[in-house]
Point group: C2
Chain length 374, copies 2
């Protein structure tokens, strides 16, 4: 078992990483002992893992309340959040209740926001079961729900007591979701840590084969990078924005195709390729470094070419991005691998970049585009 500490002063917490944590009572003891646990999960993950979790805390918890939500981003709404509140109140859960988020990013975001707001805040722990949730949403304390007018518009920064990552749960993760999670893993290296990126390039075959020890190491490394960034900028005042590498283009792709057509990680993958090419155009990144990013993503079976939009549509979509200030899109760019910075770009430059994107445009993620370093 590996422990990564997210260092946030009095709100610091450990991320425990390893295979089999779900079934290991000793991992649960510090959190479950004597408490009421409210396990929030969904209709896909619950049937797979809830019973095993209950067994691990059976001799520890005072009682366990199960809250099963429907599965899917379309349920990340105030209506679903209210179902969690109703279940907690129905079971007379008090302020000492520990909320356990068992599932992917949507479950973690809703359960975390319920924890942040139920009786003005109760403790919670994350048990993320997708790669994306393990390396991304479980580190940093972002919780929330969508609003009809925008994603993640309602939420809070609220840190868990701990994150328990059972890497064995990735065994049941569909390939497409696994690849989407890898997009964030690659992002952490490309934007924040050249050494980790180089290690990952070498280990991608083992990671894709879901080799347990390599997977645990990749996740720990990725969490460590994100934890470092979050520790320096808990509330996203500045530095933390580097984690949005690929996201200005990525959000535009997600939004332009309609949310859910491409997975978030897929849109970010194509977005990172564009952001790397923009960095090359701006003279801050070597073409061969941009190529390494593209190759790693392609090897991870992620799309590396954005869908085709008219240029005016691109601009509209990017101006909706949260990083846009006064209607001008901002981009996370690279000054070499592992070193991100934020800048705007002229319309001319963007027009040239996005026009060339049309060659070989594709809208079918999921198939590998190329072998490693071809």
């Amino acid at each position: 078992m590996t422990t990564v500490t997210v260092d946030l002063g009095s709100r610091s917490y450990p991320i425990e990483i390893g295979p089999g944590l779900l079934d290991d009572s000793s991992c649960w003891e510090p959190y479950a002992q004597g408490r009421t646990l409210a396990v929030v999960t969904n209709s896909t993950v619950g049937p797979l893992y809830a019973r095993r979790l209950c067994k691990s805390v059976a001799g520890l918890a005072a009682r366990v309340v199960m809250v099963e939500l429907p599965d899917g981003e379309e349920y990340k709404t105030s209506a679903t959040l209210n179902r969690v509140y109703d279940a907690l109140l129905e079971a007379r859960c008090d302020r000492q209740t520990l909320i356990v988020a068992l599932g992917g990013g949507v479950v973690g975001d809703i359960a975390g926001f319920a924890a942040a707001t139920y009786q003005r805040g109760v403790p919670f722990i994350q048990v993320p079961t997708t790669l994306l949730a393990q390396v991304d949403s479980s580190v940093g304390g972002k919780t929330g729900i969508n609003h009809p007018r925008g994603k993640n518009m309602i939420g809070a920064f609220y840190q868990p007591e701990a994150v328990l990552i059972d890497t064995a749960t990735l065994g049941t993760l569909p390939d497409r979701e696994f690849s989407a999670g890898l997009a964030e893993v690659i992002k952490h290296g490309a934007a924040c840590d050249a050494g980790y990126f180089a290690w990952l390039e070498n280990e991608l075959p083992a990671v894709l084969a879901r080799h347990p020890a390599t997977l645990a190491e990749a996740i720990a490394g990725s969490c460590r990078i994100k934890a470092r960034v979050v520790a320096a900028d808990e509330r996203e005042a500045g530095l933390r924005a580097v984690l949005n590498f690929g996201h200005t283009f990525g959000h535009a792709i997600e939004n332009g195709l309609g949310y859910g057509t491409w997975l978030h990680g897929e849109a970010v993958a194509a977005g990172m390729v564009l952001a790397a090419r923009l960095s090359v155009d701006m003279g801050s990144l070597e073409p061969r470094e941009a190529r390494r990013i593209r190759d790693a993503l392609a090897y991870a079976r992620l799309p590396v070419t954005a869908p085709v939009f008219e240029f005016a549509r691109w601009m509209d979509l990017m101006e909706l991005d949260k990083k846009a200030s006064a209607g001008t899109p901002r981009f996370v760019l690279l000054r070499g691998l592992g070193a991100a910075y934020i800048a705007g770009a002229s319309e001319e430059r963007l027009a040239a970049l996005l026009a060339t994107g049309e060659e070989g445009a594709r809208t079918d993620p999921l198939q590998p585009l190329a072998g490693p370093n071809p």
Copy 2:
């Protein structure tokens, strides 16, 4: 103008107190300069003060978005909260938007919770216009809404950037609400500060006459006491519970009569008389001190006798109270004026206390019961 500082480390904020702040641009400058302001108010307070606020920030704010909510505790719901979110999104308010809560406790609680959760938290300031909100809900960062199953069940601790108390706004406050606010003022003295209580006893005639300077001094003193307690226990882990003096009985009264029949401050007033008598029964308070509390409340035109309930009903109602642990009600009691502690009480003792409460029972708050120190 008096400034009271709520000392919460990086979340510290000033409470500015004085007549005419609403019309004083210099008070607004540090908060409004260059920002988008979203003023959340209600249909009673808005027409009285919103235009004056807008005038004060006219040369400062980038723009002002008005959000007017219906007036009343029955609107402290998720539906009303959603109206605030909708309005903020409709006006494309970003993360730099300053939310201004202009109104009483309900407006402050909803607007504060909207600020805590809109785009994971935006800055806000409180401009409380009722005495209760000025001395109670504006200090301490409690925000939230009601749930059909319980009051304040959904919320967050979220501190404002500042609280601006224009004591002149109390000129339009109905007598009954003014008295209900005084219940909390008296509570702060009785539970936490004997010196302030003694000062208040002497000044009650001037306070009730709403003499501007005395009123400002009473409010500043009351805020100072609450700020001290909150600074020592921001998230209500222990000490802060002393501010619930009178509340175990008070909540039972509110709940038993149906919320809204008595105002919160009225129920707490009768609850404090019972809690003081229980303290006397437990041997920790002199009868003459309990009498001083009762007299101050009566002089402030607050009810000092609880309504009549069967004893079993009292117990049911008190077990619903949040301070009840494992079904046993807990009480904030006094070890002399200004020194609160928390304890349980035997059923026999409570039965005796609540039975004698039936003499002279009354359910009509609002009329003075006695002169000062008769």
